[in-house]
Symmetry: C2
Subunit: 426 residues, 2 copies
């Protein structure tokens, strides 16, 4: 060994070359694939995302500057207000949103009664069903009847009611599960069984954790109402502190992104791009902003849908709050009841199609079923892509369906809306 070492040092001195050169004086190539070959397994394209942003900004720079010089950076407040209000003395959307508190409190008080046992399980269920059904019928009836309601105000208030509907459904479901566990526990305790797992979870519920009936407070309810999730749980994971810089960056984006979007003249930029920007604004900037404010820990609002190679993967990953809700409160309970997988999946799409249609048709006061059909068309599309395409081809197909499908559905409604309200398409 020492001889080898001495030899190497000697050679190193003679040739005055560095170590790697000495080890392989004549070789500098190794067997390897190119990064863009699929065989390389490489997938870090963060830079491409930046390229897209730079290209978007540069290609619209002239337009941005023109608009900013002409109209200033501020969004015209009167124009924004006119989207929500026809008559400044009647604020139907705002009133409707304020009324939603009635339904929230009804759900809370029903749960309190159920917890102490002053009403039976069945009565509680009927109360909840009545409350939840009213939450869908009451706002849609209001939007259809009140003439001073604008389409934007209608979409906004119906959207908020739909979110609350999903939240309160999750609320009653989760609380029922908690009661069932408590009952099972009580039964076992009378039979003098010990229950280490539940006892342990109660034990670790030290200073902040609450256990079942303790969660039925106004504070807990309203935290859930404002939290960026649709699935209720007793102790949400909390982030340790509010990061001011993170909060400010998200706030800046929340203000900047719509400004940029406004600076692009409509229909010059493809509809698809507007959807992408909206996705970033809503699912990244806004939700993270709210979560940071509430110290809500679970920031998984979307997964890597941009890599989706099947339509199903896209729908399961672009909107995680809704997907999580569907899985927890609709798909899994159906499977437990013995419904077959394909049927359950179709039912989820059916429900999703119903809500898409509900959110578009009612505020526009047009029942055209384009949104419903668009959502239901995903089932055969998913089958086709899953059956015949995979890898990058599948991914390209998903992008194509987004780039072409969405604007077509939107244009259908825009076209029909213009025909109804202005008599002609021109």
């Amino acid at each position: 060994m020492t001889i080898v070492f001495v030899t190497k040092c000697f050679l190193y001195y003679i040739l005055k070359i560095n170590k790697t050169d000495f080890m392989l004086p004549c070789s500098c190539h190794v067997l390897q694939e190119s990064l863009l070959s699929s065989a390389s397994g490489y997938s870090n394209y963060r830079g491409i995302l930046n390229w897209c942003v730079v290209m978007l900004v540069l290609s619209n720079a002239r337009l941005f500057l023109e608009n900013i010089i002409k109209y200033g950076i501020l969004v015209d407040p009167i124009q924004v207000v006119s989207l929500f209000l026809k008559d400044p003395y009647s604020w139907p959307a705002a009133c409707l949103i304020i009324v939603s508190n009635v339904f929230i409190l009804a759900a809370l008080y029903t749960e309190r009664r159920l917890a102490v046992g002053t009403i039976t399980q069945m009565t509680g269920l009927i109360f909840h069903i009545f409350n939840l059904t009213s939450m869908l019928i009451f706002p849609s009836a209001t939007v259809l009847i009140v003439t001073s309601m604008t389409p934007v105000g209608g979409v906004l208030s119906l959207g908020i009611y739909t979110v609350l509907f999903l939240k309160l459904y999750s609320y009653q479901d989760t609380n029922r599960w908690c009661r069932e566990i408590r009952q099972a526990k009580a039964k076992r305790l009378t039979r003098s069984y010990s229950c280490p797992s539940v006892a342990q979870s109660n034990g670790s519920a030290g200073h902040t954790h609450v256990s079942y009936p303790g969660n039925l407070t106004h504070r807990d309810m309203y935290y859930f109402v404002f939290a960026p999730t649709l699935c209720y749980q007793l102790n949400f994971p909390r982030s340790p502190r509010i990061r001011i810089r993170f909060l400010m960056r998200r706030l800046f984006e929340m203000w900047m992104v719509p400004t940029i979007q406004n600076s692009m003249k409509p229909f010059q930029v493809p509809n698809h791009l507007i959807w992408l920007i909206f996705f970033y604004w809503f699912f990244h900037s806004s939700m993270n902003f709210v979560a940071e404010l509430l110290q809500f820990g679970d920031r998984e609002f979307y997964k890597d849908w941009w890599n989706s190679e099947t339509v199903t993967y896209f729908w399961a990953n672009w909107n995680i709050p809704v997907h999580k809700w569907c899985l927890r409160h609709f798909y899994k309970p159906m499977l437990r009841k013995g419904v077959n997988k394909f049927l359950a999946q179709t039912a989820v799409f059916l429900m999703s199609a119903f809500f898409h249609e509900y959110l578009v048709s009612v505020p526009l006061k047009m029942f055209r079923l384009w949104a419903f059909m668009g959502m239901m068309a995903q089932v055969p599309l998913a089958w086709f892509v899953g059956r015949f395409l995979n890898g990058n081809y599948g991914n390209a197909a998903v992008w194509m369906s987004l780039i072409i499908g969405q604007p077509v559905a939107v244009l259908m409604y825009v076209h029909d809306y213009y025909v109804i309200h202005y008599g002609s398409t021109t």
Copy 2:
């Protein structure tokens, strides 16, 4: 333990819920960051690359179709030929390329003489210097003198000569290193030292591996000339077999990509996009095609320059064959001679600037120094970006310099060329 298990089974039976639901009946959230937050460390955006391709194809689909219907999918052969030939009876570029064999064989025969020792080290060096210098002067003189040489023919033949210049420089350097090691080994053998490391590498050189003087054959030389690398080494890593499907896919791309590029009318698509497509065509499709044909194993023709956060990283990663050559035959030898790092780096940029200018000025017969200045401007730019920007901002700055810098340099030459040849810019 059994009690816990029985309890769980009992609960499972009562509640008819699946296992994860039982374990955490009321929790479905965990503490985590959003994927697009830089804190998540996520970087898989392969889908975004597909999005870019789909958007490029779709946004140009109408144009593509129009062009294909009008002109057919075939590139007009007469138009292509006219790029290379002014006079069909005089093929100056082709002749120039055929003559390059003289320089290749001169380098090989000089090395053979050096290996057997019929000429001294110094004589060999003088021969090589004379040979390499001629390789730069002879083609440029020919391009400048022969009037029937077109600019495209000039760029092509000068490009091939430059590549050969770099290859033959590497060839003589590597062979000299091999001789030096052989001499050192011989010296040690006379002193009765054993040399396990070198003996071992000779031992493993069984059926295919060659050792120093055995590599000086025509076959080995021409393999190196055609191989997609600029750095010579004795035993190149070889891929086990030619994958016909891979070969066909690259061939399809080699034909398809310029067809698509032709279908885009010039100046409607940004120059930068043409560079990106050229990059893919040359560094991925063509180089991989040649490598697959020659069973050349090292396919690292580029690294992840799209993620580069500094200008230096970009220049070190977008063109690996040239970068590898500069490092092995220019930068490292300079460092060994005690030159400081910054000076050596600037010298590399200076040499690169010289070759950029050489490849543009001589065929266009215009000495404007735009390419030279463009390359030298990279040094202060690299300093600025490295000093003031990092992360995604640095990446955006690199993209901006590519998107803006390149077209400006190209437009300079186009402008001047038009002014000289057509008298006015219109």
